[in-house]
């Protein structure tokens, strides 16, 4: 049962490399819901929780966790309206499909909002590889804007090189810089745009390691720091500093399983507090960091 689930998830990620991991997780959970033979709503919730745990063992990123929580919330909200299980399941399946349809459009909405902030002749700095940022830059290039991009190499997996390749294919002049060169390059840059793996309740973000550094430097240089993220990445965490982010998000799933002493490992993500972020572009609109908690409250309360 577990292998089936994991295999489905992996297939989803493979067939569409452009799909966000949270969307793949939600799709997997929806399929799991369809195949589930449970008799009660409580049983359904239990099995979905178990399924989400299985998925986080495969891919320990914040996005998968937030996707799973969102799906659970979706189940709770729908089950409140219909008492009968079979009717409830039908409604859930319909709404689930609709939800997936809507969120597949979210990157386009974000790109539509964000590209107006990129002016002609702008120099943009971005971190590592983010598909949402790529979509925004694609849209800006399609609008015939001329801009140059600096991408950080982003060790330890050098994801920045993939981003640079993708941008070169769009004929955008791009330079790969060392992670250590962020402070050096910021004086030339007009704005900083990064993606996010998770957006936390305070309005801060969790993203690839090195984002916090970039945010602090842009604050020091007075450059705007923009975050682009879809709304399904909003997660119910409230970290006050780097230590507060749970270990299960900081390291890759394999590392968590095999290594006993985590203090020797390098974390893959860091937390950027809301005071360093200028604006967040989401499919719910252009939000200031203080608006994020409002959205989360509307959903979870």
């Amino acid at each position: 049962m577990e292998e089936c689930l994991v295999e489905y998830f992996r297939t989803q990620m493979r067939t569409d490399p452009d799909m966000a991991s949270a969307v793949a997780a939600i799709r997997t959970l929806l399929e799991f819901l369809r195949r589930d033979k449970g008799e009660t709503i409580l049983g359904l919730r239990e099995s979905l929780k178990w399924a989400t745990d299985c998925l986080t063992e495969v891919d320990s990123s914040v996005a998968v966790s937030s996707g799973g929580e969102l799906f659970l919330r979706f189940i709770s909200l729908t089950s409140l309206e219909h008492q009968d299980l079979s009717r409830c399941k039908k409604v859930m399946e319909e709404r689930g499909e609709l939800f997936l349809e809507k969120i597949s459009l979210s990157r386009t909405k974000v790109a539509k909002l964000c590209h107006t902030f990129i002016k002609d002749g702008a120099k943009i700095l971005t971190h590592s590889s983010s598909r949402v940022v790529l979509r925004v830059l694609e849209k800006a290039a399609a609008e015939k804007k001329r801009f140059t991009v600096y991408v950080t190499e982003s060790q330890p997996d050098t994801a920045g090189k993939q981003m640079a390749d993708a941008l070169r294919r769009l004929n955008v002049p791009v330079t790969v810089v060392l992670d250590a060169a962020v402070g050096y390059v910021l004086e030339k840059v007009d704005l900083v745009i990064v993606g996010a793996e998770g957006v936390v309740e305070s309005g801060g973000i969790i993203n690839k390691i090195g984002t916090y550094q970039m945010a602090v430097c842009s604050k020091a240089h007075n450059k705007p720091f923009y975050v682009v993220a879809e709304s399904f990445k909003f997660v119910r965490l409230y970290p006050l500093n780097q230590q507060d982010v749970p270990d299960r998000f900081k390291y890759k799933a394999d590392t968590l399983r095999t290594v006993s002493d985590l203090s020797d490992e390098h974390p893959m993500i860091d937390y950027t507090p809301p005071s360093l972020i200028t604006l967040l572009f989401t499919d719910l609109g252009v939000l200031t960091p203080s608006a994020v908690s409002d959205e989360l409250i509307k959903l979870y309360l």
Binding site: L77, F234, T288, S290, K298, L299
Partner: protein
């Protein structure tokens, strides 16, 4: 035919308004205050609603959008016109939803909650015809007009809570709202006002004259002296042309300087702005006017300044005092997100 006459009369009024708007921005400064512009726009939109031919809410919204686009194109820097059009569009949506019997919640903002629970891709096309929609919309617009008429008084009423005796207040240029605010406080308190003259049009002089007529001790200073004098100032109270969606301001040239000086001395910066100045824009383009004074010298004279939200302490509007981080919330109550791009 009476019908044709009314229509001709309506188009005439709109043309006159557009011509007025076009003239208002050029020349030696704004001829009319933004409050009057807002009232006139709303009155005109009410006339359009009453006299234009429409059968469903969708048609009316299209007509209003069309007129709105023409009006904003006439004078892009006058954002109150666009704001009022958005308010009226929101009123139409609300009245339509009320006529349909659905609760107002369903038609609100995009939110995660709505994404998860909505039953279908809501393609609201506003095509249904309701008999009382016209009367309801006109009544709601009348309420909006009453609100607009009372804004300056509502703001002035809050003055006594913010201004204390023997305080030194600084202001920039001329703002009718701030003038009313200070005059109201002067009825019961004695305080001193320093006005930055705001070159090159020096509207600060007119402000100082009006304030001294109300027996307020006023001093006029040159713009260059703002930082030097700031250490003696208790509060800075300014008006603005527009309040942007992120809580920032588009205000008269020189306001950013005042804001930075106030931040440096940890002086509170209070902005008196009525709600009709709230605009859903975030990106602003500076309006620049050139004057060639010598043949080889080009003088750049930007009319407006951008003040980022971090420098502002408090917004006082006709609905009370708010922090800049709350502006996005007020905006979601006034305008509908789909209308943001007219």
């Amino acid at each position: 035919m009476p019908g044709a006459d009314k229509e001709a009369d309506l188009t005439e009024r709109i043309e006159a308004f557009l011509a007025d708007l076009k003239r208002g921005g050029c020349g030696t400064g704004p001829i009319r205050g933004s409050g009057e512009t807002a009232r006139e726009t709303t009155a005109l939109l009410r006339k359009v609603t009453a006299q234009a031919r429409w059968s469903s809410a969708g048609d009316l919204m299209e007509i209003i959008r069309k007129e709105g686009r023409r009006m904003t194109a006439a004078q892009p820097s006058e954002t109150t016109v666009g704001n009022m059009v958005l308010r009226v569009l929101k009123i139409i949506r609300e009245e339509y939803a009320r006529s349909r019997g659905s609760s107002e919640e369903t038609d609100q903002q995009e939110s995660l909650h709505k994404l998860l629970t909505s039953g279908g891709l809501s393609d609201e096309n506003f095509r249904q015809h309701y008999v009382h929609l016209k009367a309801n919309v006109i009544e709601a617009i009348n309420e909006l007009l009453t609100e607009l008429e009372g804004t300056t008084d509502n703001i002035a009423m809050q003055a006594l809570e913010h201004i204390h005796s023997n305080e030194v207040i600084m202001t920039v240029g001329r703002s009718r709202t701030v003038e009313a605010f200070l005059k109201d406080a002067a009825r019961k308190r004695k305080f001193h006002v320093i006005v930055a003259e705001c070159a090159p049009f020096c509207q600060g002089h007119e402000m100082a004259t009006n304030l001294s007529k109300a027996s307020i001790e006023t001093t006029v200073i040159a713009d260059a002296a703002i930082f030097a004098v700031m250490s003696r100032v208790n509060k800075v109270i300014i008006g603005t042309q527009t309040v942007l969606a992120n809580g920032g301001l588009r205000a008269v040239n020189g306001t950013h300087t005042v804001a930075l000086a106030a931040r440096h001395h940890s002086t509170p910066l209070i902005v008196c702005a009525p709600m009709f100045k709230l605009s859903p824009q975030v990106v602003i383009t500076t309006v620049v006017r050139n004057r060639i004074i010598l043949s080889k010298v080009n003088v750049h004279c930007p009319v407006f300044d951008y003040v980022p939200p971090e420098l502002i302490t408090l917004f006082i509007s006709n609905i009370g005092g708010n922090a800049p981080s709350y502006i996005y919330r007020l905006m979601s109550e006034l305008y509908h997100p789909e209308d943001h791009d007219l």
